[in-house]
Structures are given as structure tokens and as C-alpha cells.
């Protein structure tokens, strides 16, 4: 090799550790390289805990939803429209709201709609009002047995950050929530159980 071939700057300017340091910087944007996102694998279907401050998504909800709650194990099942007529009297109708807690736990909040006879229990009415409020405010609901309704507590601090909604679509969330609790055919074990066949 001749002397020119060994002229460091001509050959490879990055080999000068006294200049070009900006060009040596390696990216620190780990999110781009790690390629990791949070997967939603569990979505409870329940009312908020009495200590949870929650927000309700202003748009995403399923209403009316036909639901069956098994009293012994408190599991909530979603009845598909094709099965509704076969289970008349067994399910109740509700609005399923997409909700999150301050700890970013995503859940579906079932709020009962008025009964077919138009009767609307105070428990259910107060829950519906709370869900409406939760579309724009952080709220907490506490059952008051004496009152026969939920009491509503609102976070008054203006500095609580907005909720973080899951990236998954609402359809995906519903699928996850009712993954193994969807009554969509006549031979479903719950249908058989309700018919006394099991």
C-alpha cells in the first residue's frame, strides 16, 4: 500500500476519534428497535371496584348486550343475537361500556338497561348516570345500601392525566372479554344447563 492509501481521512473519516463524533452516535430509540407492544389478553367484565377511579370511553360501547350472569360463579356470558330467542327470560340487557381504571386496567362495565316492563331500579339508574359522568371525569362509585343506589365520587383535581385507552379495536376487546363465555349455539353447555339438560 502506498502512503496515500493510508491517509486515514481519505480512507475512512469515521476512524478519526477527534471529529465526526455526531456520526458515531448510535440510536437510543429503543421502542423502534425493540418492537414490543402491550397485548390485551384479559378483559374483565365487571362493575368498578369501590376504590377504583375509572373513566368510560365516550364512544365505544355495546348496547344493548344480552348477558347472563351465573350466580354461583359470578361469570358473565354474552348471548349472541341468534340465541336470544331461545334464552328469553334468562338474560338481562345492558350497555357494555369500555372503561379503564387509574392503574390502566381495561374492563367492560355492564350497566343494566331498564327491564322490559320499563322498571328501572335505582341501582341501575345511578350506575348509568355514573357511566355517563365517567365519559369526561374520573369517578368512583360506592354502593350505599341505605340509599339503595350508588354514590358517585368525582376526582376534582384538574391535574389527573387523561386515560390511556388500549390500542386493540373494540371488537377485539369484546372477543378477549368473552373468549370462552360466548353463548352462540344451542348446544352451548350454559344453554343445556339452563334447560336442565346437564
Amino acid at each position: 500500500m502506498n502512503a496515500d492509501a493510508h491517509d486515514l481521512k481519505k480512507l475512512d473519516p469515521t476512524l478519526d476519534p477527534f471529529t465526526n463524533l455526531e456520526n458515531l452516535r448510535l440510536p437510543q430509540a429503543f421502542a423502534e428497535t425493540a418492537g414490543v407492544k402491550r397485548l390485551l389478553k384479559t378483559v374483565p367484565v365487571r362493575k368498578p371496584g369501590s376504590q377504583d377511579f375509572v373513566r368510560v370511553h365516550p364512544e365505544l360501547r355495546l348496547s344493548p348486550a344480552a348477558l347472563i350472569e351465573l350466580k354461583d360463579d359470578r361469570d358473565m356470558y354474552l348471548v349472541t343475537p341468534n340465541m336470544v330467542h331461545q334464552l328469553a327470560g334468562e338474560f338481562f340487557t345492558a350497555t357494555l361500556y369500555l372503561a379503564v381504571t387509574r392503574q390502566s386496567v381495561t374492563f367492560l362495565w355492564p350497566v343494566r338497561l331498564p327491564n322490559p316492563d320499563g322498571k328501572y331500579l335505582e341501582w341501575h339508574r345511578s350506575a348509568a348516570e355514573a357511566a355517563e359522568s365517567a365519559k369526561s371525569k374520573w369517578i368512583r362509585i360506592v354502593p350505599n345500601m341505605g340509599l339503595g343506589a350508588y354514590e358517585l365520587f368525582e376526582a376534582v383535581s384538574p391535574n389527573i392525566p387523561p386515560p390511556v385507552w388500549p390500542e386493540a379495536s373494540f371488537e377485539e376487546i369484546i372477543k378477549v372479554a368473552f373468549r370462552d363465555r360466548l353463548i352462540d349455539h344451542p348446544d352451548h353447555p350454559i344453554v343445556k344447563r339452563l334447560r336442565g339438560e346437564q
Binding site: H6, L24, R25, I160, P161
Partner: protein, 578 residues
């Protein structure tokens, strides 16, 4: 072989033998250098050393050594210029194996063993080292033996280079080599020590320790002789109603970390903690001080996983006994300055994560107060004077996040309820969401790819049993180390006498009439280093100037220093202690 296909006219493998007594500068004995392309070998005994190195050191030549700061220290001792391009195979071996097991350590033998290479000729010969340290005059036969011994290391480098070369990221490796030159300059400088009190301390240390135990333990009653009694301490805690962290075994956690934490919450325990640390860690005779009154020890660059220096706690004046730093004093006609980055880790986290609110908080000049405002805990017009308690609370949260602390430890540190600690940590998560996303992604990236790297390629490898907290903290710590290294390079290359790097600070010395100028130049170098590492984001620095005859004072050690100096005075050193 004639060396890797790197664009250098000459590639020199170099090793020196030298004498380095504790605290003193090296005295070169001989050198061996091998040029890989021409196969030329140079063996020089000390009486053959000239005014310049016998090999080329311009930018067209590559200087390769193992632990190059030692060889570069010999250059300084001989008045030779430092090579323009340095590749240190020790540093590159550390980088390649950082986080991995190295069964035989990271020395030259360790590296050879790691790659399954022959260690013949390198096996440490105690008698040869003794022969070198014995000093002159060596017989001709001894000289040949020492030169052969030295050449053995060069031949080992020759075997090591090809197996390492393929995976060396040369451009960034040369930047690390540049730092080894700065290390040589800093080790050459050393930290000025006030010798008369040190000599008195050494002379009377046993008696001073007895007096310290008697004086301090009079407040606690937990010692028997020099032995700290766990049972007595337990009784003291019960009597004073102080809750104390326990080990899993149920016994009191008496680690220094816990003592430090608890002494913050219960300041009355602070003298006890300082005493325990002093008795346990302080070995005054190990403090490496040279004949010129300078504390000088291996800075152990790239020793820590983060790539930070890790000098010996007992040999380095900036070891754990902070009160001892009172010994640091500029000689007459000189001054010192301790210059550190303000909230360096917070600034790095803000800049690298790109968290807008965090950047704003840093740029506000008081990130702790800004954080409290951003979290809505205090009004926008609040100041540190109007809201000192809230500021301190949020400061502790920032520090807790930096240490990877959980809510329980934070509650203990704050001496406040657990629920408050949880809320405060949550406020950090909610205020600095982009930072936390970036931080989570850094851990994910590390686990998925098996490693994590700084902006200039210092890598930590992730193996089974990794510590997620340590990984999460790596970008801040390791890029902070990059920043410090670059600042050391810039400052020393600009002629500033950097006595030592200390975590996120530089201690510099200068003649009194030039001190102000050198402080400004060092601050400019540190600002420049931060901009380079953080892609334009600049971190502020703070300078504490120590003009002769003042001495360095760390507020954490002032009380102990004064207590010890009183005892020194009793031992007959009244004038010195004063």
C-alpha cells in the same frame, strides 16, 4: 500475519515494563514494540530511550496495547507525545464480555484463556515482577530476561488481535482508546493531598479510632471495643422507636446502604453510620499518596458494567469515607475546582427518551420543583422558598426512580406512608409517560436482542439471571459514563489539569491566576460533551472552587472531619489541625 485490514500505514503492538510504587508516577524500565505489517520488532532498555518514541505515533499508525493507560503513562514519564490512534484490547475485551462470565478475569491471561489461546510466555511470573520492582542496577542477563518477559506480552497481543479484530467496531474503539490517553493524563496529575494531617492521622490512627468510638458511642452505647454489637443496636432502636429494615432471615439489615438510607431519615444516626464506615473501610496506609503529595491510583476505566471507572475504594481519596476528602487541598499558589453536571441522570433520561415534559423540567433549572408543578402538586407560581417540603418530596421521587426504588423503600426513605409513596411514583409514571415507554422499551430491547448499547457502543450483554432494574438504569448510567469520558478527553487535550474524574464530576487544578479560566474551559468541555452524547441537548454544570489555603469540604463529612481534627490536635498536631 500482518495485521487486520485496517487502513493504517503501521500497526504497533506495544508493551512497557515499569516501576510504579503506590501513589507515584511510573518509571519505565523497558519497552517492546512489534509492527505487524513489516514484522519489525523493537526492544529498548531504559538507557536507550530517546526524546521520542521509536515507533510512529501519527494518525496513520495504530498503537495497540492491553490496558493502554499504563503504556501511555510511560510516554508521559518519558516526555513523549501520546499516540494519535490508540486501540486498547483490554477495553475491547471488557466491552465484548461485559455482563458475561470471564472465568479467568479480564487481564491479558483472562482474554487469552477466554478465546482458548495459548498463554505460554504470559503466565505471570512473580519472580520477574519482583525483579523489575527491585529496581536497578540489573545485570545484562536480567535485562534480557525482563525484555523477554515484556516481549511475551507483545506476542500475546499478536495472538489475541486476530480473534478480536473481526468484532471490533474500530471507529468507536478508537474513541475509547482516546479516553485511555485521558486516563493516563489524569493518573499522571493525581489529587493534591495535605500531607501533614495525613501523616498525623497515619501516626495516631489507632488512638484516634479508640477516641472516636468512645466519643461517638457515648451517644448510642452499641460498641464493645471496636465491635459493633447487633443486640445493643436492636435495643437502641426499640428504645427510640425506630423501625429498621430486616433481612429475609429476620435479622437487622446492617448494610452500609441501609445505614445510609436510615441516617437520612433519622439524622441522629448519622455519626454512628459514619463511624461504622470509617472503622470498616478506612485503611489509611492503603491510601495511595506519592512522594509529591498527590493521591494517585489506577482509575480502573471501563471496570464497572456501566463502563464507569471503578478505582479502589481504599486507595482513592474519593472512596466511601467522605470526611477524609478534607485532606484534599491545593498547594500554595494553586486552586482546585470540583465541577459536576447538575442532575445528570435526569437530563440524560429526558434527552434520550425525548420526553417533552421531562426536558422542560430539566431546562427549568430546578427539575424537582418543575416535576411537582407538572404533577399538579403545587401551583405554577410556586418556588423552592414557598414549597420546600413538596420540592424535597418530589426530589426524592426522582432519585428513587433513578435508583430503581420500589414504593416500600421510598416510603422508608421519606418516612411517610406506603400509600403516599405509591401515589408519588405513580405521579412520575403519569407525568413522564414518554420516558417510561422509552425505559420499558430499553428493557424489552435488551432482553430481546441480548444486549444494550450506549450512543458510542459500550455494550452490556444480557444473560440468564439479569437484573431488570440494572438494565433499566443502564442507558442513564452508561451514557453518563460516555459523557464523562468525552469531557475528560476534551479537557485534558485542551491542557487542563484534571486531577480525577468522580462519577459525574471532574476535579481540576490550576495556578490561582488561571483557575477561573480553566474552570470556564472545563465547563465548556463538559457542556460540549453533553451536547455530543445527547444529540444537542446541553446539561448544566456547577463549579465549587477551592482556593488555597482552603480545603475540599464535602458537607456530608464536615462534622466527622472536624471531630477527627480535634483528636489530631490532641495528638500534638494543633497547628496542623487548625
Amino acid at each position: 500475519m500482518n495485521g487486520p485490514q485496517w487502513p493504517f500505514r503501521e500497526i504497533w503492538l506495544v508493551d512497557f515494563e515499569f516501576i510504579a510504587r503506590s501513589g507515584n508516577r511510573p518509571k519505565p524500565v523497558c519497552l517492546v514494540a512489534l509492527e505487524l505489517r513489516s514484522r519489525r520488532i523493537i526492544r529498548q532498555w531504559q538507557n536507550e530511550f530517546g526524546r521520542a518514541p521509536p515507533y510512529s505515533i501519527d494518525a496513520g499508525s495504530l498503537f495497540i496495547a492491553y490496558y493502554a493507560s499504563a503504556e501511555l503513562g510511560c510516554h508521559l514519564a518519558l516526555g513523549w507525545q501520546l499516540p494519535a490512534r490508540v486501540l486498547d484490547l483490554y477495553v475491547e475485551f471488557r466491552n465484548r464480555t461485559n455482563g458475561l462470565e470471564t472465568p479467568s478475569g479480564s487481564g491479558l491471561i483472562g482474554a487469552l484463556t477466554y478465546f482458548g489461546l495459548d498463554t505460554i510466555g504470559v503466565v505471570e511470573k512473580a519472580e520477574m515482577r519482583d525483579l523489575i520492582l527491585r529496581g536497578g542496577a540489573w545485570t545484562t542477563g536480567e535485562q534480557v530476561a525482563i525484555l523477554d518477559y515484556c516481549e511475551g506480552d507483545v506476542r500475546a497481543l499478536e495472538r489475541l488481535l486476530p480473534v478480536m479484530a473481526l468484532r471490533i467496531d474500530l471507529s468507536r474503539a478508537l474513541l475509547r482508546g482516546r479516553y485511555m490517553a485521558a486516563v493516563a493524563r489524569m493518573e499522571w496529575a493525581g489529587v493534591p493531598i495535605d500531607m501533614p494531617p495525613l501523616e498525623l492521622l497515619r501516626e495516631h490512627w489507632d488512638g484516634i479510632q479508640d477516641a472516636l468510638v468512645a466519643e461517638i458511642d457515648a451517644m448510642y452505647g452499641v460498641f464493645e471495643g471496636h465491635t459493633f454489637k447487633r443486640d445493643y443496636f436492636g435495643a437502641l432502636l426499640a428504645k427510640e422507636g425506630i423501625p429498621w429494615p430486616l433481612l429475609e432471615s429476620g435479622r437487622l439489615d446492617l448494610s452500609d446502604d441501609t445505614f445510609r438510607l436510615m441516617a437520612r431519615v433519622y439524622p441522629a444516626l448519622s455519626p454512628l453510620r459514619e463511624l461504622r464506615s470509617t472503622l470498616a473501610d478506612l485503611r489509611l496506609n492503603d491510601l495511595a499518596v506519592g512522594h509529591d503529595g498527590r493521591n494517585r491510583t489506577l482509575l480502573s476505566p471501563f471496570r464497572a458494567r456501566s463502563g464507569r471507572n471503578q478505582p479502589s475504594n481504599t486507595k482513592f481519596i474519593f472512596g466511601p469515607s467522605v470526611w477524609l476528602r478534607g485532606l484534599i487541598r491545593p498547594p500554595e499558589g494553586q486552586g482546585l475546582a470540583y465541577i459536576d453536571w447538575e442532575q445528570q441522570e435526569f437530563g440524560i433520561a429526558a434527552a434520550l427518551s425525548g420526553d417533552r415534559l421531562m426536558c422542560e423540567a430539566y431546562n427549568s433549572g430546578d427539575p424537582y420543583l418543575a416535576f411537582a408543578k407538572q404533577a399538579g402538586a403545587i401551583p405554577p407560581e410556586a418556588t423552592r422558598e414557598t414549597h420546600p417540603i413538596e420540592r424535597e418530596l418530589f426530589k426524592q421521587v426522582v432519585l428513587a426512580v433513578q435508583y430503581g426504588m420500589e414504593a416500600r423503600s421510598l416510603a422508608l426513605r421519606l418516612n411517610r406512608p406506603l400509600v403516599l409513596a405509591r401515589d408519588l411514583l405513580r405521579a412520575h409514571h403519569e407525568t413522564y409517560r414518554s420516558f417510561w415507554q422509552w425505559s420499558d422499551a430499553a428493557v424489552d430491547h435488551a432482553i430481546l436482542s441480548g444486549s444494550l448499547s450506549t450512543v458510542f457502543g459500550w455494550v452490556v450483554h444480557v444473560t440468564a439471571g439479569f437484573n431488570p432494574r440494572s438494565l433499566r438504569n443502564f442507558p442513564m448510567q452508561a451514557n453518563g459514563a460516555e459523557m464523562l469520558r468525552l469531557a475528560c478527553c476534551l479537557a485534558t487535550e485542551r491542557g487542563i489539569e484534571v486531577c480525577a474524574p468522580i462519577h459525574d464530576a471532574l476535579l481540576i487544578a490550576a495556578p490561582s491566576d488561571r483557575l477561573k479560566h480553566d474552570v470556564a474551559a472545563t465547563q465548556a468541555a463538559m457542556a460540549e460533551a453533553s451536547r455530543i452524547v445527547l444529540d444537542g441537548f446541553e446539561l448544566r454544570t456547577d463549579a465549587k472552587v477551592i482556593a488555597y489555603p482552603d480545603r475540599y469540604a464535602d458537607p456530608r463529612g464536615t462534622v466527622m472531619w472536624e471531630r477527627v481534627m480535634k483528636l489530631v490536635a490532641r495528638c500534638g498536631g494543633a497547628a496542623i489541625a487548625a
